[in-house]
């Protein structure tokens, strides 16, 4: 195995193109090094993308926030303006692993590892985040929900990688939240995760909502029916009950040691409703 640390997107694309399927992108390494050690992957070359300036750091412009795909979660969590604008996204990414993992783990890695239970992904989908993808044919921007196609599988073409994430400017009277259920308080994998983002008009009527679920299907789910249950309402108990029912109805979970199908379906509705309550309070407080 060779190790390369390209200094530009172009150089990284050339390396990926030259090695085809034998190349593996390395960002924080918290998933990749475990897979290397376990023999689950055996790349000919590891392409470390952390030395590419466009993949590092957080910027803010007229469109909102741009987060380099290889920025460590610990660094993202320390960005006060981002945490104020998108508290649900920041809470979600801070749930990934321990302090040590936070020091290395990245949003690009969390997404491209393609675990159905990835914590940052439902929160980013709810927030309407997009990815800047670099590839042999140039750059394209796609919604986060278009990336994961199954457990461990992503829609990126060979030779493509994620350069950055875009979070839109926060709307007036809006809020987001992410909740995860685990049987303990720290260091575990989601049984269910729920992300909600919503916005209200001057009268308190919901004008925009996105609801996303994790760990209840082969991929993170964007649940249009749950969002539709809120839009046009005052986000009252009736709307919340409809949101919970739509969230539960969208689940296609597995039975495993962390939870049964019936449990996950029920909890998905409960968590989505609780996350919507927090998002609502944040929107009202703005």
């Amino acid at each position: 195995m060779d190790y390369r640390s390209p200094a530009s997107v172009r150089e990284a694309l050339d390396l990926l193109a030259a090695h085809g399927g034998g190349a593996q992108v390395l960002a924080g390494g918290t998933d990749l090094l475990v897979k290397l050690r376990g023999g689950y992957v055996a790349p000919k070359v590891v392409v470390d993308v952390k030395a590419i300036p466009q993949l590092r750091g957080i910027g803010e412009d007229a469109r909102g926030f741009r987060i380099g795909a290889a920025t460590a979660c610990a660094e993202i969590g320390e960005h006060a303006a981002l945490a104020a604008a998108w508290p649900g996204v920041v809470e979600a990414l801070q749930l990934i692993g321990s302090t040590q993992i936070q020091g290395r783990a990245t949003l690009g890695g969390n997404l491209c590892n393609a675990s159905p239970a990835a914590d940052s992904v439902p929160a980013m989908i709810a927030a309407g985040a997009t990815c800047e993808v670099a590839g042999p044919a140039g750059e394209r921007e796609v919604p986060v929900e278009s990336i994961v196609t199954g457990p461990g599988r992503i829609s990126l073409a060979p030779g493509e990688f994620i350069v950055a994430f875009r979070l839109p400017t926060r709307r007036a009277r809006s809020g987001d939240a992410y909740l995860r259920l685990i049987p303990r308080t720290e260091m575990d994998i989601a049984v269910v995760g729920a992300g909600v983002a919503l916005a209200l008009d001057e009268k308190g009527v919901c004008t925009h909502a996105r609801v996303a679920l994790g760990a209840v299907a082969p991929t993170p789910l964007l649940v249009a029916g749950a969002a539709a249950a809120l839009i046009g309402t005052r986000v009252d108990d009736v709307a919340m009950a409809a949101l919970a029912a739509a969230a539960s109805a969208a689940c296609k979970p597995i039975d495993d040691k962390r939870g049964t199908v019936a449990y996950r379906v029920k909890v998905a509705g409960v968590l989505a409703r609780r996350a919507a309550h927090i998002a609502l309070e944040r929107a009202q407080a703005q």
Partner: protein, 158 residues
């Protein structure tokens, strides 16, 4: 595959070493540089026994490639005591009997040092969450948490 020649800083000392692409920072510390204070518990980032500070960030050395530390600053348990003079955290771990078998201890000490550098006056809850990635199978954690809080108090006073 030729080895990589890496130039780095470990515990404020300039260090050069050769490593293969596959070797982790933990492999390099222990097997190449004879810095065996960092322990291998799980080799998968779950136990924290290999905790080191890399450019000011607490990380697991088992999840960093050795070649990645080119030009960077690494702090390990070996840099904590100054000669025979123990770091206050080390002294308090002894006073509180915050270790038994000792395998997890270097990782806890490095992790606790990283916490107190950021937050000199943490609450017990903050200590417990910060150290959630360090596993100890002997002490039940209470003595460790008390030692960290006691050391934090002493470091603030001095």
């Amino acid at each position: 595959m030729p080895k990589h020649h890496v130039t780095t800083t470990i515990n404020a000392d300039p260090v050069e070493f050769l490593c293969s692409s596959e070797q982790t920072l933990l492999d390099v510390l222990r097997d190449v540089l004879d810095l065996t204070g960092s322990k291998e518990g799980c080799a998968s980032g779950d136990c924290g026994a290999c905790s080191v500070i890399l450019d000011g960030r607490l990380v697991c050395a088992c999840l960093v490639l050795g070649v990645e530390v080119e030009g960077r600053k690494v702090e390990t348990i070996e840099g904590m005591a100054q000669g025979d003079h123990l770091h206050p955290l080390q002294q308090k771990f002894l006073e509180h009997a915050a270790l038994q078998c000792g395998v997890c201890t270097p990782g806890f000490l490095v992790a606790a040092k990283a916490l107190l550098e950021r937050k000199p006056d943490p609450t017990e809850t903050e200590v417990r969450y910060w150290l959630a990635g360090n596993l100890c199978r002997c002490t039940g954690y209470d003595k460790i948490v008390r030692a960290v809080l006691d050391a934090a108090g002493e470091m603030r006073r001095s």
